[in-house]
Each structure stands twice: as C-alpha cells, then as structure tokens.
C-alpha cells in the first residue's frame, strides 16, 4: 500500500515536472501548427459536413489554448488570440457559403445538361430539314412557309441552348473564381469531374458549330446578326477567363489541351463567319436592286467597291442615257444605301468595330459628288414649282369669280 502511494506521488511529481517544464516557444509552435492545419483543411473542404467537423476542431483548439490566452495575445503578432480565431471562423463561414452555393449550382448543372442534350438533338434534326427544303427545286408557298417556320424554331432553339451552355460555363467559372490560381490535385480533380459531367468541351464546340451552321443555312436580318455578335462577344469573354485555367488543369493531358485549342480556334472561326455573312448580306442588298458591286469582305473593300462603282457611273454619264443614270442613282441611294444599308447595317458595323466613321465619310463624300453629277435634274423641280404656281393662281381666280357680289343698299 505504501509502495503504491509512493509510486503515485512519484508519478505525479514527474508529470508535474514535465508539465511545468513546457517551453512557451513550443506552445506557440504547437498552436501555430494546429491553426495552420485547420486553415489548410478549410481550403480543401469539399462538403458542408467537412465544414461542420472543422468547426468542431476550431472549438477544440480554442479550449486547448484558452489558458495560454494572455501569452498568445502577445506572441501571435500581428494577430492576437481572438483575432486569430475570428479569422479562421470567418474563413470557414465563407467556405460554407461557397459550398452551399456550389451544391445548388451542381444540381442546376445536372438539369441544364439534360436540357442541352435534348436541344442538341432537336437542332440537328431542324438543320437537316432546313437543308432538305433549301435544295428542293420547286419552292412553293407551302415549302417557303415551312422553311420559315423551321428557321424560326431553330433560331429559338439555338438561343435557348446557347444560354444553357453559357450557364454551364458560368457555373464552372464560379468554381474557378473561388479556388486559388494554383490548384492542388484535389481541386484540379473536382474541376475535371465537373467538366466531364457537363460534357463541357463537346457542348461548347457544338454550340459554336451550330451557330456557324445557322448563319450558313439561313438568311439573317441585321437584328439577328447584332444579337449573334453580342452572344459571341459575351461567350468569348467567359471562355477567355476559363480557357487558360482549364489548360493549366489539363497540363498533362494532351488530348484535352488540343480540344481547348480547338475551341479557341472555333471562336475565331465563328467571329469571322458572322463578319463574312454580314458583308455578304450587305452585298446582297445591292444585288437585289441590280447594282453589281465588286464583292467585299471588310470595310476597306466595301469602301473601295462603292467608290469604284460610283466612279464608273460618273465616267459613264456621257455614254449612258440621262434617265438610265438617274435610275441607277435612285436605286443605289433611295432603294438600298439610305433605305437599308445606312439605317440598318451601318450601326451594326460601327457597334462591332467593323467600320469607322471616317470610312463612312468617304462613301458619303463620293455619293455627294455623284449626286451633283447624276442626281435628278433640278429642272424637274422648276417645272413642278411653276406648275404649282399656275394651279394656285387659276384656283384663286376661279374662287374669286364664284363669290356673289354684295350690293349696297
């Protein structure tokens, strides 16, 4: 019994000595090390449940070190005991909010993915039908109506699918924004799984390809082009934000890297296809009024083509009849340039930096010169004015004659 008591006292003394002989430096290092571990686990947490476990760890750390609060207040420079805990608690709260948001987005992405797949199939079918109708030799009223209906349906579907794919890309962008620039393996894997789940590369490629195809199989209005240009701009902007980061995620995967490069070039192709179609549509406006401009594919060529046409018309004034020259002038100005090109197409060209005001001024100056040389003769106006005066005078005299004379009493 005595021996037992002696041993207990000895053990107590040894333990006490060990507890007392604690280095403050080690206490500080131990706190810092556990604190850092919690910080790391907050960064890598991938579920709200993990956050709850981390919250428990924070509470344990606080209670383990609360006796050293005064010491830690002085030693955790520039933090103190409370501010250090406030810092990790805030970081944990932010992570919880992010994870909740990401969870909601993941559900949303699942739904979006199904919708996108359905729309892809529908669009494929529509493009096929439109192509068949386009090659049909006899385009009766019913065919044209059906064609227009299908084009309108396709336009709606493509817009809807673009928005859905944009949402998919946006959800990925949110994830990128919330993760550090240099992703660790776990973070990179989470991104990869999201990309695979959303079939992202295929859907982006498909979206661009369908848009390019749409410009080829349909005749688009200036409004359609304006809208598509905006879509391209917005989508390209988002892709430019995630593209380079996806490249770093897929650093070692050659095939994926080439898919990213392929998407980059598809964006360029899409832009140049829209531009080409805009210039073609403007050219078509002139052709429909039998004004044969040299085809153009950019603003420089457009100015040159119009200038060449006007120069040629001025040069041929003596060769062609006056009436013929005036008709060409009126067709060019009244029916095409002022009526549609200047009003509907030039604003789109300006808006998308496809033409400058200086270039338009060159065309306007050319038209002014042409107008002086070949515009409708002012003698016509002279006849009209004289005729109007004669009519007015005759009418006035006729009125005067009709008035009954008033006799004075």
């Amino acid at each position: 019994m005595k021996a037992k008591m002696f041993l207990s006292v000895l053990l107590f003394l040894i333990m006490n000595a060990l507890i007392v002989a604690q280095s403050d430096y080690e206490t500080l290092q131990s706190f810092k090390s556990q604190y850092k571990q919690i910080e790391e686990s907050i960064k890598s947490a991938s579920s709200v449940d993990e956050c709850t476990a981390i919250s428990e760890k924070i509470n344990n750390l606080r209670s383990d070190f609360v006796d050293n609060k005064t010491f830690l207040d002085k030693s955790l420079y520039p933090e103190n005991f409370e501010s250090a805990f406030t810092k990790i608690e805030n970081a944990l709260e932010t992570k919880k909010t992010d994870l909740t948001q990401i969870g909601a987005l993941t559900t949303q992405v699942g739904t979006l993915q199904t919708q996108v797949t359905e729309l892809n199939q529908k669009n494929e079918e529509l493009i096929k039908q439109i192509n068949e109708l386009m090659v049909k030799s006899e385009k009766d009223r019913a065919t044209i109506t059906q064609l227009n209906r299908l084009v309108s349906q396709l336009r709606g579907n493509i817009n809807q699918r673009d928005l859905l794919v944009r949402d998919l890309v946006d959800s990925l962008l949110v994830e990128f924004i919330k993760t550090p620039q240099n992703l660790n393996q776990k973070e990179a894997q989470a991104i990869i799984s999201k990309v695979n789940k959303g079939n992202l590369f295929y859907n982006i490629e498909r979206t661009i390809a369908d848009n390019i195809q749409f410009t080829k199989v349909t005749q688009m209005t200036p409004g359609d082009f304006s809208q598509m240009k905006k879509q391209h701009r917005d989508f390209d902007k988002v892709w430019n934000q995630i593209g380079p980061r996806l490249s770093s995620v897929y650093l070692s995967k050659k095939q994926k890297k080439s898919e990213i490069a392929q998407i980059d070039s598809l964006f360029v192709e899409w832009s140049s296809q829209i531009n080409n179609e805009i210039w073609k549509s403007i050219h078509r406006q002139f052709l429909e009024k039998e004004i044969n401009l040299i085809p153009f594919n950019n603003s420089d060529q457009f100015v040159s083509s119009v200038s060449a046409f006007i120069d040629n018309e001025i040069k041929n004034l003596d060769v062609k009849s006056r009436e013929e020259s005036e008709n060409t002038f009126l067709a060019f100005i009244d029916s095409v340039y002022s009526k549609t090109v200047e009003k509907e197409w030039v604003p789109i060209l300006f808006e998308n930096n496809m033409m400058t005001q200086a270039e338009k001024d060159i065309i306007d100056a050319k038209i002014e010169v042409w107008k002086k040389e070949a515009g409708p003769s002012y003698s016509y106006w002279g006849y009209i004015i004289v005729g109007a005066i004669i009519i007015f005078v005759v009418a006035y005299m006729f009125q005067k004659k009709k008035k009954p004379a008033i006799k004075a009493d």
Binding site: A17, A21, D24, Y25, Y77
Partner: protein
C-alpha cells in the same frame, strides 16, 4: 555674487542632466529561435535585426567555422538585456545594446560539466526562465538560480 554663482550652478545642473524615458519594458513575450546562416548571421524578423553571432560560438566552443545551420535561442528581458544560448551550450550569454551592436555584460555559467540538451527560454514577469528537459533555471540580470 552668491546669487550669480547659484544661478550659474543651477543652469549647469539643468544642462548636464540626462534625458530619461522611464519606465520601459523591453521584454519579448516569447523567445526567438534562429538558424545561423553561412556568414554567421541570424536575422530576426519580428524585431528586425541582423546580428553576427560567430563570436558567441567561438567563445563557447572555440570554433566559429562550423556555425552555419546551428540554432541559437534569444530572448530579451524587461530591462533590455539579451540572453543567448543553444543546444550544447554550458552558458547563457547576457548582452546589452550599444551603438551598432551588443556588448557582453555577463557569461552566466549553468554547469561546468553538462551541456544543455534541449534548452528553451520563457518570459516570466520578473525573470527569464530557462528550461532544459526537466531542469529549470531562473535568470535575473546576471544571477541564475536553479528552480526546484
């Protein structure tokens, strides 16, 4: 005449008195543990100073060539003394700051035969504590007392 001498003496006394800023507390809340660099210097970041510690190692081990990578522990007490020691040391070195450096005030012997194994300084309100395993010493100025 007496008045003139008195006033002159008063002026001289005022002119000669030293400007004092007191009380002051120079103590560090926790020791700093620094690794000696190739050039024999240690860099302290929180209190921002660089110091050549080779002379301490030479004094302790008669060798200042193999100091790179060794650890030295430093703490400052309330009065402004700097205490230096490390594993393998048998002494604590107490310094006071002077212009451009530190000057040794005292070399406090801990043991003639046994060297410190895992020393650590702790700041306590009235003294600096040195612990080494289960051994504990209290240092105040140049006095060292082995605590029970």
């Amino acid at each position: 005449m007496k008045l003139i001498i008195f006033i002159s003496a008063l002026f001289i006394a005022v002119g000669c008195s030293t400007l004092m800023l007191q009380p002051a507390d120079f103590s560090w809340p926790v020791e700093t543990v620094l690794t000696v660099k190739d050039n024999g210097f240690v860099s302290e970041e929180r209190h921002t100073f660089d110091l050549n510690v080779k002379p301490i190692f030479f004094e302790e081990f008669n060798d200042s060539n193999s100091v790179a990578g060794k650890e030295i522990r430093i703490i400052r007490d309330k009065a402004g003394h700097y205490y230096f020691t490390g594993a393998g040391f048998k002494n604590i070195y107490m310094f006071m700051p002077i212009e451009g450096g530190l000057v040794l005030e005292d070399k406090i012997s801990i043991s003639d035969s046994l060297a410190l194994q895992k020393p650590a300084f702790n700041q306590k309100p009235a003294y600096v504590e040195l612990i080494d395993g289960t051994n504990k010493y209290l240092v105040t100025g140049n006095e060292i007392v082995r605590a029970k």
